[in-house]
């Protein structure tokens, strides 16, 4: 691999890791507060991509389409919280897990019915499909550049939110100790709703970026990114948001460089390598890299 190729793969890994990170943040945030593994998070991503697809037909500028699509995912996230998760709040972990699996499967099937299982071409704008020449033989796709930029901006925004605003600090407090948070006067419902809003924004954006990356969208497209994001959060330490982001980038880079270095015959096994890595991390550090919570919560 020469320098140019390395640079290209590096940015590619950064870009893939960024998408995983956006998805993983939502998972970690909702888990941190509700102790719920929201498998339906992948369907929020999928619906974000489909919303983009349909809104783009209107001929509106892509940025407007993207904002509308993200607003749509926020509404979906809010409805999901209200209809499926609020009534089951406080139920045993297994019941929560089954609820989220149920929501995930229901949304997948509804999407197959509504949109058909046929993959569709994602309406990525021409502008960002172009290659950008960084010099020194490094060529980067515009999609990757946009992906990394958008993800970093969102993460910076999130960091400001959780450190500088009262709602953000309340969210961190609730994730650490729900009872104490209630005794402070924090309205837990507000915090949960905020977590779903933020998670849905991130998942909606991830859906658009994933659509642009892969080029096609279909009703089951949420499964792989949410699975990878789940692995990332476990590697990083479940419930820890910095951990989830770290895990996501480890996974993104690991995947890209494995494919680049492995002989062609083995590249189709890359997911096997991902899960081997997961098992190795968990053997050495059951609580994940940045995790401090008890591993039985996973």
């Amino acid at each position: 691999m020469n320098f140019g190729q390395f640079g290209q793969q590096f940015v590619n890994g950064l870009s893939l890791g960024s998408i995983y990170a956006l998805v993983a943040i939502g998972l970690a945030m909702i888990f941190g507060i509700l102790r719920l593994i929201n498998f339906a998070h992948g369907e929020v991503l999928m619906l974000g991509a489909f919303a983009t697809y349909f809104y783009a037909r209107s001929g509106l500028p892509f940025l407007v389409v993207a904002v509308l699509a993200v607003l749509t995912t926020v509404v979906i996230g809010l409805v999901m919280e209200r209809v499926a998760y609020r009534p089951t709040r406080g139920a045993p972990d297994v019941a929560l897990l089954l609820t989220s699996l149920g929501v995930s499967i229901a949304l997948q099937n509804a999407a197959v019915l509504a949109f058909s299982a046929q993959p569709r071409k994602f309406p990525t704008p021409r502008l960002i499909e172009q290659q950008v020449d960084l010099g020194a033989g490094v060529q980067i796709s515009g999609t990757n550049l946009v992906t990394v930029g958008v993800a970093l901006a969102l993460m910076a925004g999130l960091t400001l939110f959780v450190t500088r605003t009262q709602l953000g600090v309340s969210m961190r407090a609730t994730a650490e100790n729900v009872t104490a948070a209630q005794l402070m006067g924090i309205n837990i419902t507000t915090v949960i709703v905020a977590a779903f809003v933020i998670g849905s924004v991130m998942a909606g954006v991830a859906g658009i970026l994933w659509g642009a990356r892969v080029g096609r969208i279909e009703p089951l497209m949420g499964f792989i990114p949410v699975l990878k994001a789940f692995v990332a959060t476990v590697i990083g330490g479940f419930g820890s948001i910095p951990g989830a982001v770290l895990g996501a980038y480890i996974l993104g880079f690991g995947e890209i460089f494995l494919v680049a270095w492995l002989p062609d015959a083995l590249t189709s096994y890359r997911d096997a390598f991902v899960f081997t890595a997961l098992i190795l991390v968990l053997l050495v550090r059951p609580q994940g890299i940045l995790g401090s919570t008890e591993p039985e919560k996973i």
Binding site: R172, A173, N177, Q182, L183, M184, I186
Partner: protein
């Protein structure tokens, strides 16, 4: 005025509180004492809305608290420094204190209130940017009380504020409790340290396995031979 009437609370099959009736008048300091597992913490948690009494009534200034969520109870001026401190370990001392004030509407006064807390517990000022989890046990206890005070409560619930502290610190905490009372804060104080609690309190209730077995003016309770034998180590 806080009035509990025939309050029952159970954890599944375990009946922790079996028909407690008590009241705390405005500006009064009432001590709730009793041995381990008597139901003191459960009672305070029920007042804060973490548990619903079944059956039983909890009223504060005419409002039925049993219908309110915990954050609505805080909004009515009732805050709690819980047993075991329950500090947010990953949040700074300042963040912990400011969370105590989430329900406050008069946000312009928060700076003055911070100063007041630092006046009561100067060490917290030195630790302002430090993560709550890195504080010593005693410092965490001061933070827990300071955090509850940031709500500017009209009724303050204190659950074992002196637990596990060195004698000097215990004295300091009780001094602060006495000072708060002098400032007009109504206090319901749960304590293992019955002697000290009854020293500062106006009235007291003695709880035993979920029931109130004795009540009266604090001085009378302290002089009661039964209380002396069971709780004051006499």
């Amino acid at each position: 005025m806080l009035i509990l009437e025939d309050v029952h609370v159970a954890y599944g099959a375990i009946r922790a509180v079996k028909g407690i009736s008590l009241e705390v008048q405005d500006r009064e300091l009432v001590a709730l004492v009793g041995s381990n597992g008597a139901g003191k913490t459960t009672t305070l948690r029920a007042v804060s809305g973490l548990f619903r009494p079944r059956p039983g009534s909890i009223r504060y200034d005419g409002t039925d608290l049993t219908k309110l969520a915990p954050h609505e109870i805080v909004a009515r001026g009732i805050s709690q420094s819980p047993e075991g401190r329950q500090i947010f370990g990953s949040l700074t001392v300042r963040e912990n204190l400011m969370l105590g004030a989430v329900r406050r509407k008069d946000r312009a006064k928060l700076g003055d209130d911070l100063d007041r807390i630092f006046d009561l517990f100067p060490v917290l000022k030195e630790r302002i940017g430090q993560a709550g989890g890195t504080l010593s046990g005693g410092e965490q206890q001061m933070l827990a009380i300071g955090r509850a005070l940031m709500a500017r409560p009209r009724l303050l619930l204190l659950d074992e504020p002196s637990l596990g502290l060195a004698p000097l610190l215990v004295q300091r905490i009780f001094d602060v409790v006495a000072r708060l009372k002098a400032e007009g804060v109504t206090i319901l104080l749960v304590e293992q340290n019955a002697r000290k609690a009854l020293e500062v309190a106006d009235r007291g209730y003695v709880l035993e396995t979920g029931r109130i077995v004795l009540q009266g003016p604090a001085a009378e309770l302290a002089a009661n031979p039964e209380v002396e034998r069971a709780y004051l180590g006499g």
